[in-house]
Amino acid sequence: MSLPERNNEGFLENASEWDEAVARAIAAESGIDLTEKHWEILFLLREFYKRHEVSPPSNRLFVKAVKDSLDEDKGNSIYLMQLFPGTPAKTACRIAGLPRPTNCL
């Protein structure tokens, strides 16, 4: 498929062009095959962004956001690192079609 326009780090330029097929394609670039566990986090992250107009700006805060909605078996860095390798907050935001978290931290 042809993906919507993205910046040079793979983040969507326009968040409204995101859909599940786009997510699968972006995930595949990082060798991630999206499962139910991934979708649970991706939808949580999109809901978080919709409510707070901000992506969790660091891995630690990503963990805290997940822990707030789910529980400790999912709101921990090992679990999120396994699902979204590399920098989990960035990888997950990229697949979820959210802006690159402010690199303030």
Binding site: N7, N8, E9, T102, N103, C104, L105
Partner: protein, 141 residues
């Protein structure tokens, strides 16, 4: 200026959030920093935040008969080997970029002055943990 910090004196970090031409903060902070150095104190780091990042632009070009604050700061930072950080989020918003950020965001130029590094707020959090004193120079009014 003395260059060997005396033992037993508190170590300092300075935070500048007042802008270069919208406040006196960079000038006051420089005078204070020089007084610290001349009394044998250690300056652990300088952190520029908010409007304060304007100090770190290599493109600041004041008339020749006015103080060039950016250059004056660069001299102190180099002489005393003081690390100076400009907050990345504050800097990018205001058009202050190093080469790496210019490449990342596909911007036509980089303008970060030598002696300054672009870094996250973590450097500020670290200053609160590491330095005995963190002195903040805010904008005025």
């Amino acid at each position: 200026m003395d260059s060997t910090p005396a033992a037993g004196l508190p170590g300092y970090s300075l935070v500048i959030s007042g802008g270069l031409y919208s406040s006196q903060a960079p000038a006051t902070a420089l005078a204070f920093a020089k007084a610290l150095v001349s009394t044998g104190h250690r300056i652990d780091r300088v952190f520029l935040y908010g409007e304060g990042v304007s100090l770190a632009s290599a493109l600041n070009t004041p008339p020749s008969d006015e103080t060039d604050w950016t250059r004056a700061w660069q001299e102190l930072l180099t002489d005393q080997d003081i690390p100076a950080f400009a907050c990345i989020a504050s800097a990018l918003r205001r058009g202050l970029l190093n080469q790496q950020e210019a490449d990342r965001y596909q911007r036509p130029a980089a303008n970060l002055a030598d002696g300054f590094v672009i870094a996250g707020l973590g450097e500020w959090v670290q200053a609160l943990a590491d330095s005995d004193r963190v002195i903040h120079f805010p904008g005025g009014a």
